[in-house]
Symmetry: C2
Subunit: 360 residues, 2 copies
C-alpha cells in the first residue's frame, strides 16, 4: 500500500499501532468471540475497559482526584450548550475570543446566559497574536471564563493559561488535548471532541472539578447533566462504545510512548521544522506571531489563490491528503496532531520545496 | 474460533458480513490508504457515503419525500429531550406508556412541556397486553403523541399503530427499526439509537416530516435543533463518522437480503420458533400476551431466581452470551435482532431443552 500522509483537521490520523490492533481484534475482542461493538456497555469486559481508560487518561494528564472524567456524546459543539446549562448561577459568563471556535462557543452560550465577549487578538499587527490573558480583575463576577487554547482554522495556539483568579476557567481543548503538558488544577472544565488527538469522532471528554457538578439548569438534557452522568459513570444511556474503545487504545499508546511529556517534545520538533521551512521560504508564509503558532494546525499561503488550489491538488496526487485550509480562511493547513510522524512533516517539506522550485 | 451467539439487548450483534468488510478495509477505506475514521466528514468520499446511506435507508423504509433523515448523536435518550424541545408549541404532549422506556421518555419530556401519561397496558390480566390504541378523540389537543413500539426490557411489542387522527405521532423505534415493514407516513417522527438493528452505539437516526421542522425552543442546543441539522446535512459539527459508516454497511446488507419485507419474514420465523418452544416447555414461561410478544426481545423465566441465574451462567459456558434479563425485571432475555441468524435460535432452544431435562 502506498504511504499516504493525512493532514486532515479532524477526523484526523489515528496512530498506526492503534489501527493495527483494532483491525486485528475487530471480530474477537478480549477473547469473547465477538466485536467490542457487540458487547453490552454494562457487562464486565466493557466496564473494565471504561475504568482502565479513565485511569490511563488520569495518568497521562495528572488529573487530580477532585476532578471527574466524563465520556459523552454530542461533540464539543454539544458542550457549547451543556457548559452554560451546567454552570450558570449568576447568569453571566465571560468568553475570550481568538477565532472561529471560541466565537461559536460564545454564540451558543448566549442562549443560556448573558455573555460578555472579549477579543484577545491584537487588532493592528501584521502577525496574528494574542495580546491579553490577565482577567483577574474582572473574572470573578462571571460564572466562568471560557477560551479555546487552539483555534484549528487560523492555527493560533495560546500556550499561557489565562489568569482568572478564583473564577472558573473552561477550555475547549478539542484540538490540543494531550499534545502538551498542562496543569489541570488551573481549570474548572476541560472538554474535547475526540476526533483530533484522542480517537474517532463521536465521543467527547469532559474533565470537570467536582464542586462544579450538581447545579444544572432544570431544562438540561439528562445526557448532558454532569451530575447525572457522573453518578452513572457516563452510562446514563448507551455510550459510544467503539469510540470509547479506540480512545482507550490511544491512551495506552501514548503511555507506551512515554506520556505527554515525550509527546510534547515530539510535537515541538515537528512544528518547529515545518515553521522553520515556511519562514525561509520564498513562496509560502504564515501570518501567526511565533509565540502563538499552533503546534497542531500549521496554516500557510502562497499569496495567490490559484496557486494555493494547485498546491492542494498536486499534494493530493503525491499522497499528501487534506491540506486545503478551512473554507472560512482559505489557503492551506497542515494538521499535525499527535499521530502525525516526523516522516510526514519531512515528506510535506520535500514536496513544498519542490513546488516552490517550480512556481516561486 | 468457537461460534458464539450474542443475545445482547444492545449494543447488539452486527451482521457477520458487515464486520468482515469493516475489518478488511479498516486501514484502507475507499482505496484512500487511510481508515474511514481518519477522513474529513466534509470530503467527497465521506459525503458520498452519507448521501448513499440516506438513499439506502429511504429505500429500505419507503420514506416519503416530505420526510428528512437526520443522523445525530446523543442516543434515543438524547431525543427524549430533543423531541419536546423541537415540537412544543401548545405546551402539552401525550405519552402512551407501556413499560420502562416509554415512561423514561415521558419523565424527561416533563422538563419541557406538560406531559399527560396514559398507561396502555392491561392492568388485570395474567399476561401483559396492550389494550388501548385509539386516541383519536383526544390526540389533537397535544403537540404530539409519543409511544415506544417495542419495550426491550419486558419484551412487549405494539404492532398496530396508535390512532391519533391528525395529531403528530412520535415513535421511539430504537429496538424495532427495520425489523418489520411500517408505513412511515403515519408518523411525525421516528427515532432510534443505532445499537440494536442499525450498527454500533453512538449514532441516532431521526426520520421527521418536514413541516415539523423549524419550531425549536430558543434554548434548544444547536446540535439537536432539527432545522439546523437538516440544513447542515446532519453535519453542524463532526458526526460520528465510523458509526455512520457501519450503518451504511448494514443498510446495504439489508438491501442485499431483499429489504425489510424479507427481513420481517425471517424475524417472524425466528421469534415464532422460540415462543413455540417456550409455550410447550415445562420449565420456561413468557408472560406477554401473544399479540404483544416482541419479535426482538424474548423474555422468559423459570419461576425460580436461583435457577434463572444458573441458566444464564451455564448458557454463557456454552457460548450463548448475554441472556440475563434487565436488572429492573430479572429472569432471562434473548434479544434476537435482525443480525441474529436462525442457527442462534436453534442453538438456544437446544440448550434450553437440555437445561430443562436436567432441572425441570
Amino acid at each position: 500500500m502506498t504511504q499516504v500522509y493525512n493532514f486532515s483537521a479532524g477526523p484526523a490520523m489515528i496512530p498506526q499501532a492503534v489501527l493495527d490492533q483494532a483491525q486485528q481484534e475487530l471480530k474477537n475482542w478480549d477473547n469473547l468471540g465477538v466485536s467490542v461493538m457487540e458487547v453490552s456497555h454494562r457487562g464486565k469486559p466493557f466496564m473494565a475497559l471504561a475504568e482502565q481508560s479513565e485511569k490511563d487518561l488520569r495518568s497521562l494528564y495528572n488529573i487530580p482526584d477532585n476532578y471527574s472524567v466524563l465520556f459523552l456524546q454530542g461533540g464539543a459543539k454539544g458542550q457549547f450548550s451543556a457548559i452554560p446549562m451546567n454552570l450558570t448561577q449568576k447568569g453571566k459568563a465571560l468568553y475570550l475570543t481568538s477565532g472561529h471556535w471560541s466565537k461559536m462557543a460564545a454564540n451558543e452560550a448566549s442562549k443560556y446566559t448573558e455573555v460578555t465577549e472579549i477579543d484577545i487578538l491584537e487588532p493592528q499587527s501584521e502577525k496574528t497574536a494574542v495580546i491579553e490573558l490577565d482577567f483577574e480583575d474582572v473574572a470573578e463576577q462571571y460564572d466562568y471564563v471560557h477560551y479555546c487554547p487552539n483555534e484549528t482554522i487560523s492555527g493560533v495556539e495560546i500556550f499561557d493559561v489565562p489568569k482568572v483568579g478564583n473564577a472558573v476557567l473552561v477550555a475547549d481543548m478539542s484540538s490540543t488535548i494531550l499534545s502538551r503538558q498542562i496543569d489541570v488544577s488551573k481549570f474548572g472544565i476541560i472538554y474535547a471532541g475526540a476526533q483530533k488527538n484522542l480517537g474517532p469522532s463521536g465521543i467527547t471528554i469532559v474533565i470537570i472539578r467536582n464542586d462544579l457538578i450538581g447545579n444544572a439548569m432544570s431544562m438540561t438534557p439528562q445526557v448532558w447533566d454532569y451530575a447525572v452522568q457522573q453518578k452513572a459513570d457516563s452510562m446514563i444511556n448507551t455510550p459510544p462504545t467503539f469510540a470509547w474503545y479506540l480512545c482507550s487504545l490511544v491512551f495506552k499508546h501514548l503511555l507506551d510512548l512515554g506520556g505527554v511529556a515525550e509527546v510534547e517534545k515530539h510535537n515541538i520538533a515537528k512544528a518547529q521544522r515545518l515553521y522553520d521551512f515556511i519562514d525561509q521560504s520564498s513562496l509560502f508564509s504564515n501570518v501567526v506571531a511565533p509565540q502563538n503558532r499552533s503546534r497542531m494546525n500549521v496554516t500557510f499561503v502562497t499569496g495567490n489563490e490559484e496557486l494555493d488550489a494547485k498546491f492542494v491538488a498536486e499534494a493530493l496526487e503525491n499522497n499528501l491528503q487534506a491540506l486545503k485550509g478551512h473554507k472560512v480562511l482559505g489557503g492551506m493547513r497542515a494538521s499535525i496532531y499527535n499521530a502525525m510522524p516526523m516522516e510526514g512533516i519531512d515528506t510535506l517539506i520535500r514536496f513544498m520545496k519542490d513546488f516552490e522550485a517550480r512556481y516561486a
